[in-house]
């Protein structure tokens, strides 16, 4: 396991601290200008300690990549726009399959090529695919410099890697590439 660099630890600690503020309900009192100093100090210590141990699992490259406002807005647009559309389509489709009397499923594991290089982008695409009902990423593999996902698909329309990839990834890959590359 690679050792974490100092910026990686800092960025992990900042994210931990933001979640500490949200969960302990300090945001409102910070806005009023009367924060509880004890809670803030405890949060800073805890998030620094957590980051020290966990940063090497999360951050391997460019720790402050999302601090760019354009990229962050693209991420928000993806989460609440493009992804919600795909999620709705897939949810309705799988619910229809589960409730229809003949149970029209055609399951199988297909191999799908991925054209993303960054680690974060690959993780995000794999998670997006798993989160849409009807497809689960089982494993990822690298062959001859190209990355592939093995995806369990509830309705195998095509066994050909390119066509299956087109059907599963849809617009997701384009959006993820726009955010991370």
């Amino acid at each position: 396991m690679k050792k974490a660099s100092f910026p990686a630890i800092v960025s992990t600690a900042i994210v931990c601290f933001i979640f500490w503020l949200l969960i302990t309900g300090q945001v409102a009192s910070l806005l009023r200008g009367e924060p509880s100093v004890q809670v803030l100090i405890a949060g800073a210590i805890v998030s620094a300690a957590a980051a020290l141990f966990s940063a090497r699992f999360f951050i391997h490259e460019s720790p402050f990549y999302l601090c760019n406002p354009v990229r962050f807005l693209k991420l928000i647009a993806y989460c609440f726009g493009a992804f919600v559309v795909e999620l709705t389509k897939a949810n309705v489709d799988v619910a229809r399959r589960a409730l229809s009397p003949s149970l029209p499923v055609k399951p199988g594991i297909v191999k799908v090529p991925v054209g993303l290089k960054s680690e974060y982008a690959q993780a995000m695409l794999a998670d997006s695919i798993t989160l849409t009902p009807g497809t689960i990423t089982v494993d990822t593999v690298e062959e001859d410099g190209k990355d592939y996902y093995y995806i369990h698909w509830i309705d195998v329309a095509s066994e050909d890697p390119e066509e299956a990839g087109e059907a599963i990834k849809g617009t997701l890959e384009k959006w993820v590439r726009r955010i991370w590359e």
Binding site: I23, A98, L99, G108, I109, A126, L131, P133, G134
Partner: protein
């Protein structure tokens, strides 16, 4: 406003119902997991968004709304990772796919 909240929670109950029916009817473990994703996306998100609206508009409790939003974020970020780990673990443990399966590229490539 209250009607929008009822609609959101109703949608979410419908998808949770569809997910449970799917989990009982699907032929094998992997297909059951596909159906359970229905519950873990729309089944949970509808209730959480409805809860955020209710606590913000009717209870005037911003803290509760923020905590619900954080719950939703954590849920969405962690559930696909768990799903992926369960599917991979089940496959390597030897859980068989149903005979209706049309292809298994993963098994073919592992034998090579």
């Amino acid at each position: 406003m209250i009607i929008a909240i009822y609609v959101l929670i109703g949608i979410s109950i419908f998808f949770a119902f569809a997910g449970v029916v799917g989990m009982l009817r699907m032929p094998d473990a992997f297909c059951r997991m596909q159906s359970s994703t229905n519950i873990s996306t729309f089944g949970v998100l509808g209730v959480i968004i409805g809860g955020i609206l209710y606590s913000a508009v009717f209870l005037h409790n911003a803290e509760m709304a923020v905590k619900l939003a954080v719950m939703g974020i954590f849920y969405i970020v962690t559930s696909p990772i768990a799903g992926h780990a369960i599917a991979k673990g089940a496959y390597h443990h030897g859980v068989k796919m149903t005979r209706k399966s049309v292809c298994d590229k993963y098994g073919e490539d592992m034998e090579k």
